[in-house]
Symmetry: C2
Subunit: 241 residues, 2 copies
């Protein structure tokens, strides 16, 4: 099964952009009349018949559609500080997309070495991984924001978890899997700090806002490994529901 | 904390190879008398005093040692068919090492596109990731072998799991986390197939040998993502013990 991304769905027709059209018509040599599968990136799969095999702008007629195709039983927002090495963060974006994530928010923390982040490449990787892993919904790659504004803006009704090595013994931490099992939240937000970890003020702010402190185990994980581990925990937990 | 790898530990002394010696003496400018931490790669951490600051072959006297440093409460062997793209398999080796794995066996399956695999690079990555994640035991990167010989040789007393999309409805599969929770094994073996999956004969052989069929959830995961997900499942499960 090969999925194409429809940048526009209007009425009975799906439209492919130049890149997808070229891949569909030039590379895969699809012709008018061929049946192909497309996604709108919002969660719907369309089974279509190619009507206009134009390598610059192909069109296909919708024969059948399936909403919520390959969806997962949770809504996960992952706020994570991009790594100094861009490849590592982009690798996380690919893996999180394969497993199942809804929103990735690149965060700039007080200890972040990376103070700016451009989302274009990550968005392309998310699209490619969505198609490759046969999902219909492309995770949103949000514009970068500060850790503080992310914490302040995260919805109170979301199960909000922060992975941070609180030295303060008065802040007990449980394993992320234990907390997920106990709280059984649908809307989940996980906060992963930069290579230099959160600042104590950022951590305090998160706790004050209702974030639950969790740990990801005794292993010393790189930032991108910690972020993937958080997604894996939510994904593996959802299999036990 | 920075860890150095001692290729030889004899009596009261640890010895560094040329690469580690140069890193210790030339790059980090350690001098005789400095206290440094070393691992033997077998699970022991040595706190030492540098006695010979030779950039070609440094030596350090053992002041204190800690066996089973940063060990995990399971023994995990992961048999996995290397991906066509070497970087993806090496990324898995790095992540599995960070999380905690004991033995990685590159497997050649009947559907493997990659029929040969050289272990040198993966072994170097495992060493670097062991030091970076502050562990004392370097996972073994075994020599490649066929899926069939791996299955035939895997110990009967190990909890052996195979992740494979059995079309046969008479073969029920449960999520890997559910099986880990029920069986509570210490010695665990997980088998992950190639991009083309196992051959039906390989899968049948595994079941005949007592492998338990498991699934890694509904997401369609790349080979290296499936392998990391298996390690994550064992790691996260071990946190709930």
């Amino acid at each position: 099964m090969e999925l194409f991304y429809a940048y526009e769905v209007s009425g009975r027709f799906c439209r492919l952009d130049a890149e997808e059209s070229s891949h569909c018509v030039r590379v895969l040599r699809h012709r008018a009349g061929d049946e192909i599968d497309m996604i709108d990136g919002l969660g719907t799969l369309y089974h279509c018949r190619l009507t206009l095999a134009d390598p610059k702008g192909a069109e296909a007629e919708i024969l059948d559609k399936q909403e919520g195709f390959a969806s997962h039983p949770y809504h996960l927002t992952l706020g994570c500080c991009p790594t100094k090495n861009n490849d590592r963060f982009e690798w996380f974006v690919e893996k999180a997309t394969e497993l199942g994530v809804d929103r990735i928010v690149p965060l700039i923390g007080e200890h972040s070495e990376r103070k700016v982040y451009k989302t274009e490449r990550a968005a392309r990787i998310a699209l490619a991984a969505t198609k490759q892993s046969l999902k219909a919904r492309i995770p949103e790659i949000a514009e970068p924001q500060s850790v503080r504004s992310f914490i302040a803006a995260s919805p109170q009704n979301s199960l909000r978890l922060i992975a941070y090595c609180f030295d303060d013994p008065s802040v007990p931490r449980r394993s992320i899997l234990d907390v997920l099992k106990e709280k059984q939240g649908y809307d989940i937000t996980v906060l992963i700090g930069p290579e230099g970890d959160f600042s104590p003020e950022e951590a305090r702010l998160a706790l004050a806002q209702g974030y639950i402190p969790v740990h990801l185990g005794p292993s010393r994980l790189r930032t991108e490994t910690a972020a993937v581990t958080a997604v894996e925990a939510v994904y593996l937990w959802s299999l036990t529901l």
